[in-house]
Symmetry: C2
Subunit: 443 residues, 2 copies
């Protein structure tokens, strides 16, 4: 099937008990559930009831310094998604894994195995890990390798993994009891990869998975990240503050994809969206106020200091945000830095205003209002070419996700821009990126 531009795509991105950094302190939250597998099962089943394309778990390979006031990533994504695969039927299962701190053979089989366990619903969000030495120091390095090399390694890593996934032809398993032939060795090939960063013989020891190649997702917005995404990814998560910027981002990805001989329809662009949805605008605003009041200022300042690479600890809260470093000197997540920098330049907030403006939501687009207003926002961005769908972040989980599924999804369906049932059974199918479509495009 080809991508249907009349329908938008939805990914659910849960984190902790909500993306707002004070979500766990809200009266409706049960923070201890972050260690309960049933909590994640219920979130995934909720996404499936809402006919979402996928559910996605982010990851970082270190415990941050600031655990005193929040810890949001507590389970490893691939094991978590494997567990979820057993209690869901259709929703796609996307996990983050690093190309800097994994071995490609192992990662290829983890995702191939997940793809079998889920009957074709596995997806890999490719990250290169941050420059923060916290991660590197868990893997024998003092600091991470620099940005350019990380992406060079990532590109080779992805190609090795995809090569391994393709090392079994679809009909390699014969299983003919009469002749005693289990597999046809001629249909299983070594990879014999000898690159700059990796040497991997192959073939993979997992037979070809239902999707063949699981879905590839990317979220880096730096030039190197965009190139990796445009050349190889099927879906892109991105943080965009305005419709105009998001449209420009989407066009940029399309231009880059074209340079690799790919068509725009091969890449689904999903800006982050934080819907603060309530029956009335006043109630939605009240929820935001409640959450912001629960922010621990010291924690917010520490988070912002890392994101902006400026020391804000002990800042005068009513002073303007101090000058930021030049982007070339940023060692961490550059796309988030640029987005926050642009927001600060546009709005000139005080430190206190910035804290509540961001609220631990890391600069994703926030819409506060009624179900109708949320649906209007999504519809407009979709129609105006600023998005192919959305990466949905619940500020407060599961509460807001439940409201979204119950109140907003039917509005999108009424407008004919969202599916009323799953039309396909695989994750690539949901995103219109199934192998046959790609072959048709290229043939």
């Amino acid at each position: 099937m080809t991508k249907n531009r009349e329908q938008l795509h939805l990914n659910l991105f849960p984190m902790g008990v909500g993306h707002h950094e004070a979500a766990w302190r809200h009266p409706v939250s049960t923070p201890a559930r972050i260690l309960d597998p049933r909590y994640y099962h219920e979130l995934a089943q909720l996404a499936e009831r809402g006919l979402f394309d996928s559910i996605f778990f982010g990851d970082i390979l270190a415990l941050g310094h600031r655990i005193k006031h929040n810890v949001h990533t507590v389970l490893e994504p691939i094991t978590l998604l494997s567990s979820i695969s057993a209690v869901t039927e259709r929703v796609g299962l996307i996990g983050t894994a690093s190309t800097t701190f994994n071995l490609p053979y192992n990662l290829a089989r983890m995702f191939a195995s997940l793809d079998h366990l889920s009957s074709g619903r596995a997806g890999w969000n490719i990250v290169t890990s941050s420059a923060d030495p916290l991660e590197a120091q868990n893997f024998g390095l003092e600091v991470n390798v620099d940005h350019a090399e990380r992406y060079e390694v990532a590109t080779e890593f992805v190609d090795v993994v995809v090569g391994l996934w393709n090392s079994w032809e679809p009909d390699a398993l014969v299983m003919d009891k009469a002749s005693g032939v289990f597999a046809d060795p001629a249909k299983v090939r070594s990879l014999d990869h000898q690159g700059k960063h990796f040497r991997v013989r192959g073939p993979l020891n997992v037979p070809r998975s239902p999707q063949g190649s699981p879905l590839l997702v990317q979220a880096g917005s730096s030039p190197a990240g965009r190139t990796l995404a445009a050349s190889r990814a099927h879906a892109i998560f991105t943080a965009q503050q305005s419709m105009e910027e998001s449209r420009e981002f989407r066009l940029d990805i399309h231009r880059r994809a074209a340079a690799f001989g790919r068509r725009p329809a091969e890449v689904t662009i999903l800006p982050g969206l934080v819907p603060i949805v309530a029956p009335t605008v006043a109630e939605a605003q009240e929820l935001v106020r409640e959450l912001n009041e629960l922010i621990v200022v010291d924690y917010a300042l520490a988070q912002l200091s890392v994101q902006l690479e400026v020391d804000l600890i002990g800042s005068e809260l009513d002073a303007k945000v101090p000058p930021l470093p030049d982007v070339e000197h940023v060692r961490g997540n550059r796309s988030r830095f640029v987005m926050l920098r642009d927001l600060i330049e546009a709005e000139r907030p005080t430190v206190r205003e910035l804290i509540t403006r961001i609220g631990g939501l890391r600069g994703h687009g926030v819409v506060v209002g009624t179900p109708q207003m949320i649906a209007d926002h999504m519809h407009t961005w979709f129609e105006e070419g600023a998005a192919d769908g959305f990466n949905l972040l619940g500020a407060l989980q599961p509460t807001i996700v439940e409201s979204f599924v119950k109140e907003v999804v039917p509005l999108l369906q009424d407008r004919g821009i969202f599916r009323t049932e799953y039309a396909t059974s695989t994750l690539r199918g949901h995103y219109g990126a199934d192998s046959s479509a790609r072959q048709a495009v290229r043939g």
Copy 2:
């Protein structure tokens, strides 16, 4: 709880559709099910109905050369066990993972995450990978490091992983909404490991799991393997041909454990057992004959050539097995080699006799007969101190496993040597290796 020596322990070790190399060709087999998660769910639920302590999946990090006639390991164990965790309640979940071709921080979190997902049922079977270059070449090496160094690396690797598991104190998560304190940083410690082979800062980014430290399992029978097992493992899988040898093995482990200040009760020794169970001896023997007739001789010769490190391809089938290399020159699995060598020296089989004698069952103890005979065998080994329980291999799955659970388990229960219900909820609890017991032993 302390270990109850009046009760034996059972682990189920599934492989493909049965451990007999021709199981997949048997009329009752459905070999395509090896890629179906529900097949594994059903096997685990069967083990749980049988009140087994655990289910275990082996692993190898390469596809063998001999896929034409059989492929038995097709899914990655940790993802598979994570899936199983969602559809079982009590049975323990043990997965093999290599200390040679993994990164300790990643592996520590995979098992910690599985332990959360399963509410305390995770176990790690520690392997060092074989000397076969097939595995090494998937990880950038031409050949694996030698046997002694592999075990030196393994010992450091295990200590890093256990150190990471213990980096969170049990009460580190505070989650106090009123004060805004999520975790107590004073109760989460860095590891700051700087060893010969690894540098890992820590702490782990997974809060302390239900078991604290998941169960450690070992299966190497070389001196280095026995030392690693005796010093650190809670359970040992071993292949033993005779009760006398198994008793000697068990005593050797007890002696070695004592040298590390451990008590015998801290290590559960589980010889492999292949029960060919049927209502009558004649029916059981007929099943063995059926399976052996389906062996593809070329495949069996290729397998034996690897295991014995002697080229048997094209051998005269009715000639005696040729001389074997000296054990010091064996590059692969030495404990299996020694077991096969001793069997060949004792029985002096022809090549053909050896093929059916082994039958792809890799030298584990085979008992062919009625449920009563299987139970007698197990009871005797247990009473005579040759085993603390058994690692059960189904020659034909699920058929023989179903028969075992239905016909043999009740006999063991009637004799008072096997549980009639789960008394504990964690894997360490099942094996009498829970942390409180160990602390009591050492206190």
